[in-house]
Amino acid sequence: MPDTTVLDGVAHEPGVAKPDPILVADGIVRRFGGLTAVNVDHFEVQRNTITALIGPNGAGKSTFFNLLTSFDTAQEGAGTFDGMPLRKVAPHKVARKGMVRTFQLTKALEGMSVMENMRLGAQEQPGESLLKAFVPPLWSKREQEVTEQAHELLHRFKLYEKRDDSAGSLSGGQRKLLEMARALMSNPTMVMLDEPMAGVNPALTESLLEHIVELKNEGMTVLFVEHDMHMVRRISDWVAVMAQGQLIAEGPAGTVMQNKAVQDAYLGEHHDTDLSEDN
């Protein structure tokens, strides 16, 4: 089990350094025309924890998330992931290094079967090279391993019965599960989830939360974007709050909710919400 006390000595202030950061972002600025969408001086994610990135709508969470995963390029600043500089690195290279992401609008590959979706998530399949693809003996062994791994994950995510169905026939929640299971096919070290609970029914939310905690127990680091406080309190070890493109607070969920700046940031749209209680 992961050490849950590792963040105990860390100060509750934005941009604070962590004992063993896996992901570090420095001086990230992203402008769209005249609008500065993201302006984060420093941000670190502790290895093998669940970190939530929260903030009101339009706070720049998703933009920041895209910058961290290299799906967007910042005008200034850079990050490092597990020692690898991220400045102007193609997103697929970041993924190969062990950071996989999911999307706010679920990207199940609908024209393909659930199984093919899963197999696509695997790395180091020699048959993905054009010339080797002509010679099945070069890749059929790896394909067998990949298939077994996919079966395991599909059992775990309760999609095994659906394995031969086209991904387009799954429900919205099942697609979320498929996307997460597919991401795990690459045996990542860090999983980035963009609003994993958005549009998912309560029963499935429970199982998604369990799956996320399970990722941490298996040694992975999780960073997720969310705006439902309830979810955040349940599972996150650490919460980073963004507002107007900047990091305004960091700390454990309970502390962050009491923070004056956070309450002010949320007041604009949730003036009748009691942030300190589950509701």
Partner: protein, 324 residues
Amino acid sequence: MDILINALEQMFTPATAAFAIAAIGLNFHFGLTGLLNMGQAGFMLLGMYGYAISVREGLPMWAALLVAMGAAILFGLLLGWPTLKLRGDYLAIVTIAASEIVRYVGRSNTLVDVTGGSLGIKGKDYKGPLEGLSPFADERITVGPFTYHGSASDSWWLRVVAWTLVALLLLAFWRLSNSPWGRVLKGIREDEDAVRSLGKNVYWYKMQALIIGGVIGALGGVIWAHGSAVVADAMGRPTTFWVWTILLLGGAATVLGPVVGSVVFWAALSLVRAVAKAFIPESILPSTAIEPFGLMLVGVALIVIVVFRPQGILGNKKELAFHA
């Protein structure tokens, strides 16, 4: 009866094979990868020029084939390099324009010594090497209701070569589309960002697909040239649209779709023309109007496919179809 035999003949002409080959190429682009290549005729024309000019200048046949394929590779690199990083529509715009540029450059008077200008390159300048390989007699041979020359031009030999090539390319398409490589391409067709997030170099895969499909298009051009001649204007926009019609008719992303599409397309076109000629009086449809009338019906047929069978004859609606 003659009408039916004529339609049957149309099913297996070298031109039908050439279009099937070009559609197999387009199947790599669109069927597997979702690339909107609107300039397949440009790839075909480059293949024709590459082969015909090389043979005329004295290169052996295999080298001429390499030149034809090399020209398609360069064209693919040139088109793909700036556009494959952008959204799909840009590739469509660039390919349609670039293939028209190839045609206009080919037919221009400035290059008349190289490409033969608008008159093109005559068959005798480049058909020799392939016809020289023919094992068939150098005379007209009749099999059943069909009579063709053994080796020259629109011959039995060319039919054998063309359909053998079709078979080999179908085999290659089947192997690749059912491999992990093909799986990556299908993923890109569905959603490139998802595939990127799984650690695949999407740009490079799209480039590979564009080049492979283009090279196959060039081979289709070489076959077409052996059945008729190298004329730039035969490879205009209509040719590209016919290749698209054939692929969508047969069923994109299926192995046999391009062949079924090409066979049905050319047989139907021949049938429509013959029936119109035989049964519609001259006073209503003059003979000069039969050609455009046939093509018009092809257009109507395409609309009917899109409405009633959006996945084509063989296609799988769940995998790839027109969406409203």
